[in-house]
């Protein structure tokens, strides 16, 4: 926290170096708080999935939960891409679960136990890597399956000849913007939500610091709002993970079925 009891809403996003590891070129690779939360998310996800590996014909509760997630993603892939989408379900499922777990972990009230939660997906560096990964897969699949014919993606069906100079340019720009929109959407949504919560929290602290009357007058409505916003943020955590996975599946559909 910043000095003099002031709450800096951006401080929560700072990545702390925990220990150095090795150098790549002249860049240092360190184990950071961000890395720690990613490792925790991966391990939690792994533990969660192990519960679904009992492979019973009549599933228990845990297995139903895991199968609910897998069924959700494979159903989405089936609806958006078709039977050929099955091949890409592992990637989209990993993406969805990893992002969802990171989003939700960042919202956990772990501060009560003295742990500082950190929302990994509020970092553009992270969401950018995931978005570029998705975009690269779309490019590779598209050119692999269709060769140079993949460029016909930029000429939608029914484009009039006299607009041929304009439409492909617009389509190309919209195509190239995809990784940015993918990365920015998640990063901005997570950042904004956490800033909002921090701001309302600071209202309570600053109000109480000013005087008890102001503290109660400002604090109670702020707390009420924060409870609502916390619920909303949980929703956003799920929705943003879903949107990332959904858009990836739609982009993959372009590459696989090519209108």
């Amino acid at each position: 926290m910043a000095d003099q009891g002031k709450v800096d809403p951006m401080h929560q996003f700072e990545v702390q170096k925990m220990f150095d590891m090795f150098h790549v070129g002249n860049h240092e690779v360190a184990f950071t708080t961000s890395a720690m939360w990613m490792v925790i998310a991966g391990l939690l996800l792994w533990v969660f999935m192990i519960g679904g590996m009992k492979r019973q014909l009549v599933p228990g509760r845990w297995q139903v939960a895991v199968e609910g997630f897998t069924g959700f993603i494979s159903g989405m892939m089936n609806a958006n891409i078709g039977p050929e989408g099955r091949k890409y379900t592992p990637y989209v499922f990993s993406l969805f679960m990893f992002i969802l777990m990171l989003n939700v972990l960042g919202l956990m009230p772990l501060g009560l136990f003295g742990v500082h939660p950190f929302t990994v997906t509020s970092h553009f560096a992270i969401t950018g890597v995931l978005a570029i990964l998705s975009f690269a897969i779309v490019l590779i699949v598209g050119f692999w399956r269709h060769g140079l014919h993949f460029f016909s993606l930029f000429v939608p069906h029914g484009t009039p000849i006299w607009l041929m100079w304009l439409i492909p340019v617009i389509e190309l720009v919209s195509f190239l913007v995809r990784p940015f929109s993918l990365a920015l959407r998640l990063f901005v949504a997570m950042t904004a939500g956490h800033v909002l919560m921090k701001v309302f929290a600071s209202f309570i602290i600053d109000g109480l610091a000013a005087s008890p009357a102001i503290g109660i007058g400002v604090g109670i409505p702020s707390l009420a709002l924060m409870i609502g916003i916390s619920g909303l943020e949980l929703l956003v955590a799920g929705i943003q993970a879903y949107v990332f996975a959904l858009l990836t599946s739609l982009y993959l559909n372009d590459a696989i079925n090519l209108h």
Binding site: M10, H11, F13, E14, V15, K17, D20, V24, N26, H27, E28, V29, A30, F31, T32, S34, A35, M38, V39, A41, G42, L45, W46, M49, I50, G52, M53, R55, Q56, L57, P59, V66, E67, T70, G71, S74, T89, P90, Y91, F93, S94, L95, M97, F98, V120, S122, H123, F124, A125, I126, V129, L130, L133, F187, T191
Partner: protein, 165 residues
């Protein structure tokens, strides 16, 4: 905004990219490619089992219906056969009774006619005896009254004429 300002730090981007690739790689290879297909296979197997079981149940239902139908037909047929057997037996019994009755009738008629013949024979012989006795009596009477000896043949003819009118 640390998300942008920290790019200035030497370790930030390298660490973030390294760790996201490492952890996401773990998630993708271990969870996405290792565990997900098995879970999906389980779900598929269950779906298939449910579909198979439903089909089997439907087939069993149809078989039961067919069985019931054939049972019904069979019972109808056996009932008809039983009814036929009963009517046949009744007919046969009636015919038998009729035949026996006719036979008894015929026997009785035979006996009756034999008895009648006997009776008429007896009457004939009785008549003949009466005739001869009457003729003798008539001859005796004539001889005793008039002393005229009547020939037996005459007396017989006269008696016959009287008796038979």
């Amino acid at each position: 905004m640390p998300q942008i300002s920290q790019f200035a730090e030497n370790w930030y981007a390298a660490s973030q990219i390294f760790w996201v690739l490492l952890t996401f790689g773990f998630v993708f290879f271990v969870i996405g490619r290792g565990m997900l297909p098995k879970i999906e296979a389980t779900v598929d197997a269950r779906d298939r089992k449910v579909a198979d079981d439903l089909a089997a149940a439907k087939a069993a239902h149809a078989a039961a219906d067919a069985l019931e139908e054939s049972y019904r037909q069979q019972s109808d047929a056996s009932r008809a056969a039983a009814q036929k057997a009963v009517t046949d037996a009744k007919d046969k019994a009636a015919k038998d009774a009729e035949k026996r009755l006719a036979k008894v009738d015929a026997e009785l008629a035979d006996k009756l006619s034999a008895a009648e013949a006997d009776v008429s024979a007896a009457r004939g012989s009785a008549m003949a005896e009466i005739e001869s006795v009457a003729a003798e009596a008539a001859g005796d009477l004539v001889a005793r009254l008039s002393g005229v000896k009547v020939a037996a043949a005459d007396a017989k003819a006269a008696v016959k004429a009287v008796l038979h009118g």
